[in-house]
Amino acid sequence: MLTMILSIGPLARLDRRFLPLLYNRRHFGVLTFFVVLLHASFMVEWYAVQHALPSLYDELTKVSDYGKFIGFPFKALGLAALLILFLMAATSHDYWLVFLTPPVWKGLHMALYVGYGLVVMHVALGVMQYDYNPFIPAMLASGFGWVAVLHLVAGWRERAGDRAGARGSDGWLPVGPPLSIPDKGARIVAAPDGERIAVFRDGAQIGALSNLCPHQNGPIGEGRIIDGCVTCPWHGYQYRLADGCAPRPFTEKLVTYHVRIAHGVVEVDPRPLPPGTPAAMSYE
């Protein structure tokens, strides 16, 4: 299940047709936690039924075993993975996303990669040591290999996109001729520190906003201008292009960036302005 979940992210970046899988990824994750919990309870029950719980306890607390590789207590690895999944499932509701703030929440949920590594080792040091059927390592290696390759390919593509813009001499980032920005859409450029900037065009007005929506850090640059406002594709949060502020009565504000046209090419200054600073320009 984790192999499938971890595939969804890179697949969605590689081909937009996988996006519907992304919408349900959180639900998939919580279900995975419950399946893992069931597995853990079956395993404990196996010991309990034989009145062998003390030996399970001994297995987990034998300190000398933790120094070995092949003899490492793999059940402890499984328990650690269960704990990570529990933390993720417990904080999966949007309330936690707001309470912890999106960057912290996302950081916590990136622990899934640690959990995945623990699960791979849990299988490698566990059942693979008892049952020598080649099917098991084949499945494990192919699942892990698939996830790794997907991530490398998607990461390579994203890096290439971010690096594509060469640096202007005074640090301003070139975006392209004004008409290369789709009307009512955006082109996304990456600042040297990795922050992405969405440069929108609404007719003859060009403005640059932070690519991260303050709601859940969705990619604003992948949205459209609807009803005169830049609209985030994830949940529809809207902001005026002119100053990055949400229209009244809403109070969200986006970081904005200066734009200019030099030699027919739109350029954006990667130094961020305070959220809500009017910075858009008209070029006609």
């Binding site: 299940m1 639900h27 279900l31 509701h93 949007d94 309330y95 049952d131 059927n133 949400a246």
Partner: protein, 36 residues
């Protein structure tokens, strides 16, 4: 764009999604037991 939090309950679509996932889990486990 409001700050109301609602407990999100199951709906028809989610039940179908869960059904497919659980069927997948059952399929995986039975395939494992036959092949291994």
């Amino acid at each position: 764009m409001s700050a109301g939090f609602r407990a999100v309950q199951w709906n028809q679509a989610k039940l179908v999604y869960d059904g497919i996932l659980l069927a997948g889990v059952a399929l995986y486990i039975s395939a494992y037991l036959t092949l291994v």
